[in-house]
Amino acid sequence: MLRKNWWKILSIFLLIYTFTAGFLGSVPQKPILNETIRNLYFHVAMWFVMMILFIISVVYSVRYLRHNKPIDDVYAVEFARTGIVFGVLGLLTGSLWARYTWGDFWSNDPKQLGAAIALLIYLAYFVLRNSLTDMDKSARISAVYNVFAFAMLFPTIWIIPRMVESLHPGGMGNPAFNTKDIDSRMRIIFYLGAIPGWTLLSVWISSLRIRLHLFAIKHERNV
């Protein structure tokens, strides 16, 4: 399935749709938010994609621990790698948005801190991998850490930021996903355009990385 072309073309079409409809389409006028509400198609989608990729990565790590096939480890690490890229993009688009609504790129909001912690956890995963030279051992130990870190990640980015005061949309009565704040037009672009478009793009990037990684293993080179 990964070698087929139709989903890559679909991804490009969906993203073109997201960009044109996202930038040109009408959006509800909200105080303070104004046109920045369009960031929904980019910023929020990035976090969705990051979470999806980390979930895929942890599933492959569990598979590796169960069956001990090296290819599962390659999948796990490359999906995590792409996940980090999308996480960084999510952080950047978020702080750009915060510049125009909260007044500053970074204001130590719990959501921002949670996101930064999540990225640190996954960067530590790569440090751990690289500190081990034996490939089999490196794969197993980093798979264990991946599962452990993933389980600890959920409270960090899903529970704790909700318990403390935050300016982020969705908390403390700030506008977010509910029916009052985004209209059905926006919802169509978000769920049918942005989320699948970015997800497919990320899987495409990961699949290229996986092929490169497998090629490198075959020829005994470092990636």
């Binding site: 912690i117 530590a124 751990l128 130990i141 264990v144 452990f148 409270p155 704790i160 318990m163």
Partner: protein, 220 residues
Amino acid sequence: MLQRSRLLATLFRKDILLEFRQQYSFYGVLLYVASTIFVLYMALGQPENMVWNGLFWMMQLFICVNAVAKTFLQEGKGRQLYFYSLCSPVDFMLARMLFNATLMLLMNGISLLLFNLLLGSPIAHPLLFLGISCFGACSISLVFSFLAAIAARAQQNAALMAILGFPLIIPQLLLLMRLSTLAFSDVYQSGLWTIVGLLAGFDALVVILSVILFPFLWKD
């Protein structure tokens, strides 16, 4: 079940005995605690409540990295192989966590004493703070027990443990700091039991994950 608890008790006793026989490492950590708190005292004198609280928890974190890392890192390959032939990894890990929690409780008590002695004692409800700090010390030691097992497998020093552990421990530490502000004055903190429940949930999660994952680290 009974046999298992006996096995756990034996393993736990073994860890304590080892600690008694190799006292230099225990005293090493003790000296580390004392001298770090002394440095804090020289740098800050008697700080404000919130600074005191923050320093206390940071101190717990660093003590934990040092004290817990040692228990796994000091074991040679031969000795681990020996344990491997004697007991199941799950029992081994549980006993080790129990031991680390005990060690941390002790260190927690000592550092609390030294903090009160040197940095002043701003705590309004000492018993409450003692309870919270014991709870916190156990939580932190559980997380770092597992990370120490990973770091030991990677044959790395405590630096790797810090890299792996610090981002993971931040949420717990934040909750603990928030919880312990209660002991400084009579403020009412909403959602107190949610925080306690969340921390307990964290601990349960860590124990369950360690029990599931440690066997994979163990076999080599």
